[in-house]
């Protein structure tokens, strides 16, 4: 799985063979609310809080925020 991640990152970013020049006037589709990485921030925050309280794995989604005595 970790090797798989490495190839995804290299392919999409470093080499960017799949990346094309996207002019500003062509970026309309990327601006839809449903295209946002986090379309609903409050709901996302609640789901992350729930995962943090019930699972030992975590991270990746940014920031740290504070802690809680969640049981």
């Amino acid at each position: 799985m970790k090797i798989f991640n490495v190839f995804i990152v290299i392919g999409a970013v470093m080499n960017c063979v799949a990346c094309t020049e996207v002019l500003p006037r062509q970026r309309g589709n990327l601006a839809w609310p449903q295209m946002a990485l986090t379309p609903d921030a409050l709901e996302f925050g609640l789901r992350q809080h729930t995962s943090f309280s019930k699972e030992a794995g975590g991270g990746g989604y940014g920031g740290g925020g504070g802690g809680c005595g969640c049981n």
Binding site: K54, A56, G59
Partner: protein
Amino acid sequence: MKASKKNNIIAQLTCAALALPGIVQTAHAGRVEETYNADFQYGLYSESDNRIEVNIFEGALSAPIGKAFTLNVNLVRDVIAGASPVYNQKLNGKVQQLISGASPNSSCGASICEQRDAISSGLSYFFDGGSVNLNGGVSKENDYLSRYVGSNLSLDLNKKLTTLNFGGSVSFDEIDPSVSPWAHTTANFGRIHEDKTSQNYLLGVTQIIDKDSLFQSNQTFSYSHGYLTDPYKWVEVEVAAPGFSFSLPIEELRPREKFQWAWLNQYVRHFGELNDAALHLDYRFSMDDWGVDSHTFEASWHQPIADGWRIVPRVRYYSQNSADFYQPTFSGQLTSDFRQLAGYSAYSSDYRLAGFGAFSGGVKLIKEITDLKSINRLSFQTGIEFYDHQASYQLGGNSSGDFANFNYYLFTASFNLKF
């Protein structure tokens, strides 16, 4: 009517909200939100077998300040009631959880009655080529106080096709367990007061692949030290004595340090031919020096239906292996005060440190209204998600039995106003 497309593309290159009620970054480079933004969300979290139930009330406000600043504030209140597993008992060779029972003095009729209030705030400054954000917050419960500060930096490169994200935060926590039959105590059986400090760092890149797709890859590093034990969790120890054996519960003990690393990859794709639907795919791997590796797969499909409606089904699979110092029950010798396990530096039977997997699925419905006179946009959301935790769902299998299995549902309803 088509949903509003007024959001600039840059607004979508976001590195997502903080894990706990903190700051939501609505945009990075080039301030996009020229409107005020108000959100209110209600959530209901309810576990099986009358365990934990939480009612969540949250509000957030974001305002443009001057030409290049955005200020946001978030308030949340969690009202928590219910019961929680304390330790595992082995009876007739079978392991079962002991769940905390209500005490006669309970204020809410359950063994756990708690309220958490948190406030957080952030200020973002947008400049040509990027943005910087400063944020902080406080979260308070009867037995836990957390204060944190953080900062994020985003830099646009490559004609704004690529965004680099850097984040860091530090949290200072104080733990004062409430008076309860299961609260840990000091050597003299007094109330404990402990501290914990956590640092979190993020390195990420967001890349526009083509006019219909983008990709984000983040690595996060977190280091915690101080009191990391759960002050309400115990372990059962079977002690062998000459001619007989007996079992008794003792307070659990965790290491005083923890380092965790995670790598998240997210892919988002637009499908114009399917009414501007969008597919989101996430994979995250995490590992820590307590021995817990985890895999998370998540997929959601965002489908606009007629007239401002959108439906979003979602599935998620999570799997983790157990921590190095986890066992369902222990056997060994105790220290002379009968309060610690001899020869072990850490020991826990917390179900959250066991090996398990979890499947969850949910659906959300969104309605956007954009033809109101004085309001830019009003949207309503409601969703329900069901989550099933079972040992046997662990990747690679797990034969430890179903004693720790549970499930929960999470209901949310919210509205968002841009004005």
